[in-house]
Symmetry: C2
């Protein structure tokens, strides 16, 4: 008998009516002869409300206590979903993370899963029960409640699916799958039926908001296929799995990230160790640098630009200005009026000319490229923010049939 | 170094401002050189809100899931109180019931504490931390989250105090102690400084709403003295402990219970087994019978009256009417217009004449007695409901100086 792991996010269990509908879906899967393990997030705004309570005491609450506080949100969803399942006449067993065997390290608010002990889950499945597990949480070797950080419930589901050797892990969310581009901007965008882990990872860093990288990385590492699907719409769905690059689409999707900011050092001394110093300092401050471009050196000096997420821009610019003085640069400037457009596709690896087609599509629609960054399976261009949506449509039209 | 267990009820942690004040009290106790273990209830209306969510799914939610659901309320209080304590510069360790070693049986929604394993609590105290424990909850041998029922947090505090051999257990609440009578009715009522477990137990069953019997019974059984005191008023407090009846007040308190209803069987055949049949049937339906009075038998028939709590009256009256037919009684009647007035005092045991003084005080103020029930240390009279408050004042004046 197949084991299926289903994960329902906060918007899928946002109120009692939705919880009842989720219970029906879960029960249907069970009635179809599957053993079902369900992972749930906290209801809608619960986590925000709990954070707000803590912030009324201090703006910087201790992480260990925040974990204990936030872990309650998922427990409420678990209990209510179990009640709804039992109300339909089926047996359910609700398990907090620690009883579901989710063992983590002790890094509070962003703990890493170390092991998943599936003894209890399997025991309850054998009794014919539907097992409902609290996502996002675990317990450390120090016997302290931990949480897994953003996207943590996806991670819980994928880790359990891997440990229990589930047939499939279904990630239910409020979108009907992974799109070739944001359908709010590109009306022609369509759902990608199958995509590789690698492409999903590039999409996450390209600013597509489907899933956090950590859950995808975990699935890739342990070869756990998963399906991204809408909770309340039956059609659609994107299967994320191992795909041979020879079979992959040349370009599977196009993404626009409007939350970027650029910082430029003018006339940096072009000598060894300068870049290391700049990006070392930024790394120490936990700032994630995205696209980096360095010009050809002239007379021993060069210009160096990089982008960061807008949320980290102010901190990064402060550090950059200080470094600029130390390094005796001519100037350090910033530009928050930019966007990043990215094409992603496994097939790029054996189809040359993708970059040229992308640049031509941008040029034909009058979009100027400021910076370029590439990997094996993606090409990103930094452009003016106001040209972002136009660029997305043009590039999508060029590649997605 | 002395260990002090403090328990704060739901009204003491009802909002963030109150939680901050509780944190100050806890920290002061710690600064005075004590090792402090704090037990907290859920914030104000949290439990009611959670019950309400479950009732939106079904009017009769399964008890195991209700326990998981309700246990989250205390966890939120624990986390917030820890944050508030750490914000004052002191280290805190917040523990859910299962990490605090509260092992219970598997009777969901009213589990009994089997053992308290204090290893973890002691470990954290040794590190110099203030330990904050979630009241009302534990874990069963089946590894299922349980709750202890009404008054469960008091029970948690007293059980921990007993297991850890605390110097004292302080029960903080919204009243400044145990009164000689309800001060809302009797303005002269005053706080009793010391009272015995036995008297506290009689008070609970007399309708005084200070504490549930279970916690007091537990304290009595394991000889754990505790102090009932107001969270936000410094004065007052009632010590509940072993008191020799020779030292006890003749009457320590007077209580009025207006939530009583009376059922009377007229002309019951007076033969062996009839009372057993009536109270057996009521017992099977989990109805608690309070005062029972049976008249002298005439011609082989008698009248039998008993009282129940008003909340169980309808169920009890249904059963009584059926039994009345079976037993061929002349009639079965009911009266919800009654109240119970009780005087309690250890000293009664060696001071005869208390009953006579009580009956005279009632008679002098024109109150008619319908039923009487006594134990070693209490006398209860059933009277008309509208005479309850007058009776309470008269009897209080007679006994309490």
């Amino acid at each position: 008998m197949a084991i299926i792991v289903q994960k329902y996010g906060g918007s899928s269990v946002a109120d009692i009516e939705k919880i009842k509908k989720v219970a029906e879906k879960v029960v249907n899967c069970h009635k179809n002869g599957n053993k079902v393990v369900v992972v749930v997030s906290a209801m809608g705004k619960t986590t925000d409300n709990l954070i707000n309570l803590a912030k009324q005491i201090t703006s910087n609450p201790p992480t260990k206590e925040m974990d204990l506080l936030l872990s309650t949100g998922e427990l409420v969803s678990v209990a209510l979903l179990c009640i709804a399942i039992e109300n339909l006449g089926f047996e359910a067993e609700g398990l907090p993370g620690f009883l579901a065997g989710i063992k983590t390290d002790n890094t509070h608010t962003k703990a890493k899963i170390r092991t998943v002990d599936t003894t209890r889950i399997i025991e309850e499945l054998k009794k014919g029960k539907i097992v409902v597990v609290a996502g996002f949480q675990g317990i450390s070797a120090e016997d302290s409640i931990t949480t897994l950080g953003r996207g943590g419930s996806d991670l819980t589901a994928i880790a359990i699916a891997g440990a229990i050797k589930a047939e499939i892990c279904e990630i239910y969310t409020d979108v009907p799958g992974v799109f070739t581009a944001d359908p709010n901007i590109v009306p022609d965008a369509r759902i990608i039926p199958v995509i590789s882990y690698k492409e999903m990872l590039e999409m996450a860093s390209a600013g597509a908001k489907v899933m956090q990288s950590r859950a995808v990385e975990f699935a890739q590492k342990y070869h756990i296929p998963f399906l991204v699907k809408s909770t309340f719409v039956d059609d659609g769905g994107t299967m994320v799995t191992e795909v041979d690059f020879k079979e992959g689409a040349v370009v599977s999707s196009v993404a626009l990230d409007e939350n970027q900011a650029k910082i430029t050092f003018f006339n940096v001394p072009d000598r060894p160790g300068v870049a290391a110093k700049i990006f070392g300092k930024l790394g120490e401050a936990s700032i994630n640098v995205d696209v980096i471009v360095q010009n050809v050196s002239t007379h021993g000096y060069t210009d160096l630009s990089f982008t960061v997420n807008i949320s980290e821009f102010e901190k990064a610019f402060e550090i950059a200005k200080k470094l600029g003085k130390e390094l005796k640069c001519k100037d350090v400037t910033s530009d928050t009026n930019i966007a990043k457009i990215t094409v992603i596709g496994l097939g790029m690896m054996n189809h040359p000319g993708v970059a040229a087609r992308m640049f031509k599509a941008l040029a034909d629609s009058g979009v100027n490229i400021e910076m370029i960054s590439t990997s094996e399976i993606k090409i990103s261009c930094i452009i003016k923010k106001e040209e972002g949506q136009k660029a997305l449509k043009a590039v999508h039209k060029e590649f997605i049939k």
